[in-house]
């Protein structure tokens, strides 16, 4: 059974069709990255898989269960979201921020249980945030902040994490560090990842599979090495793209004419 099953998914807002008959299956413990130009429907797909949007038709399932039929607390135990532009509250410590990921377990009327606190401490340590635990999360640097957002998602204890452009605004070193951190969670903890990325080189290097969306339709779905070399990719971006292999890794380079 797939960790994420998207079947015949259609999402419309008013007369605009954001996603049209999308089918996607992500196996447990694998990393699938959705690529595509602006307006392709990547964020809509991520938000629908995370349960924040209700499909117009079609279904999204997590290990066989329909996401849109789940209660919020149940859904939060099955799938965690890292949004593209997370809201960072002022005056909240990193530890309190990460602990928000446990609200589905202890509920909004109760204090975190010892187990919830242990999970938060564990995540803080795994993501090297323990030294920042009592810092105001709003005072962190961009890279540290992104790790805190990721830590909050991991504190949810889900086997599926969906991420919308998780490296937006980070410098190159922190982009790689964030993606390596995520990759470690996939390899060592069996996490299933569905992410969107604009950087085609990093998308190809970190994902097991790439899915190309264009104008709300799924155009191509396959191994990273094949998708980055496909004609469909160049057509979707309406650009001439070259792939250069550097030390065994594919680098996607746009060609200016």
């Amino acid at each position: 059974m797939s960790a994420i099953e998207v079947e015949n998914l259609v999402v419309r807002i008013g007369r605009a069709t954001l996603l049209s008959d999308v089918n996607l299956y992500v196996e447990p413990g694998t990393w699938c990255t959705v690529i595509g130009p602006n307006g392709a429907g990547k964020t809509t797909l991520i938000e629908t898989v995370a349960g924040l949007r209700t499909p117009t038709s079609g279904t999204v399932r997590m290990s066989g269960d329909v996401v849109s039929a789940m209660k919020e607390s149940e859904r939060a135990k099955r799938v965690a979201l890292v949004p593209q532009h997370p809201v960072i509250p002022v005056g909240m410590s990193v530890k309190e921020y990460v602990a928000l990921g446990r609200i589905a377990y202890h509920g909004p009327l109760r204090s975190p249980r010892p187990h919830d606190r242990d999970v938060v401490d564990d995540v803080l340590e795994r993501l090297s945030l323990a030294d920042f635990a009592y810092r105001d999360v709003a005072t962190l640097s961009g890279g540290e902040r992104q790790r805190a957002v990721l830590a909050r998602a991991l504190a949810q204890g889900t086997m599926v994490v969906v991420l919308d452009e998780p490296i937006t605004g980070l410098d190159l070193r922190h982009q790689i560090a964030t993606l390596e951190l995520l990759q470690r969670e996939v390899h060592e903890c069996g996490l299933t990842v569905l992410a969107t990325l604009h950087d085609l080189t990093l998308a190809g290097q970190f994902a097991d599979r790439l899915v190309l969306l264009s104008r709300g339709e799924l155009v191509l779905d396959g191994p990273s090495a094949e998708v980055v070399r496909s004609v469909e990719l160049a057509d979707a971006y309406e650009m001439d793209l070259r792939v250069v292999n550097v030390d065994g890794g594919d680098v996607v380079v746009p060609v200016r004419h």
């Binding site: 919020e72 997370p86 809201v87 005056g91 609200i103 909004p108 009327l109 242990d118 401490d121």
Partner: protein, 366 residues
Amino acid sequence: MAIEQAPARGRDRVVDPPATGSSGSPERARVIIVSVATVLALVVAVIVGLVVGPTSIGTWRVVGALVAHLGLGHSTLSPLQSTIIWQLRAPRMVLGLLSGAMLAVAGATYQGVFRNPLADPYLLGVAAGAGLGATIAIVDVGGGLSTPSWTPALAFGGALVAVVVTWAIGGRGLRSNTSTLILSGVAVAALLTSTQTYLQQQSSANTVARVYIWLLGSLASASWSSVTLVLPYVVVCATICVLAGRALDVMSVGEDESRSLGLPVARVRLVVVAASSLGTAAVVSAVGLIGFVGIIVPHVVRLVVGTSYRKILPLSVGVGAAFLVFADTIARTIVAPSELPLGVVTAIVGAPVFVVILSLRRPVST
């Protein structure tokens, strides 16, 4: 900044707590100090509310009577003094405590649920609805000298109707979001206020004056019956608001992220808005429109103890209660035997205090 490659761990593996020293202690100490100060302020407010007045009664005699009322010792008050304390000052003081507590906690709750620092308990039309209800009651008796006895009932009804209409327009209940609710509140308030203005414009100068006095708010007509009417609403609604602290902390990351974390945002919003509005409507129907408490007290508390609603909400209850009793004491004594409108005093006293605290500490968001 290097990101360490920590050793492999299971997803839910338990580890020793990080060595964080006592970084969290100063904040905890500040909250304890503020909590103790709030309790002391409440005790002082109760005593001041009972002691201060045109008839001089010694502080210790009033404290003695208070203690005797709790079953310890004997009261040394004369029958007249006893009547002044227990039938005039005590209900006024208790109604002040209840009103201040409710308005402050409702304001804090609104600021949290709408993530808007300008939100106050009147945001969704409570003030406009209550104002129209009271105006209808006062206009109905024409040139009479006193405010009719059914004014609180009509004010309460008007406030509730306004909030219900706002909620119905603001996005069909559970599907609504905070922006549409606020905008529909603005529209409903504008409609009701203009209706009220029309009614006033059609009335005599005497009627307009009585409406105006009611709108400014006062505890002058407080009695044990008004306390009895307001008490259950305040106890239930303020308790619900305080219990919502953790949910409001989660909502500080926005509605979508709160939902993805597992919080039933629409239900939380419905419950806390209903509790805040119902409690505010009950208070407003008894004391009129007292401004400033609902917006200034939560901000003062926030500036002192930080942004967590688990701390802001219970402290707002205590600070709001004490603040309104102190403000009422000033209102009824500073130009005695006349009284200043309570809303004027809350603003005159509250604004400088707020400005001082604001200048001493960095501003923080909701």
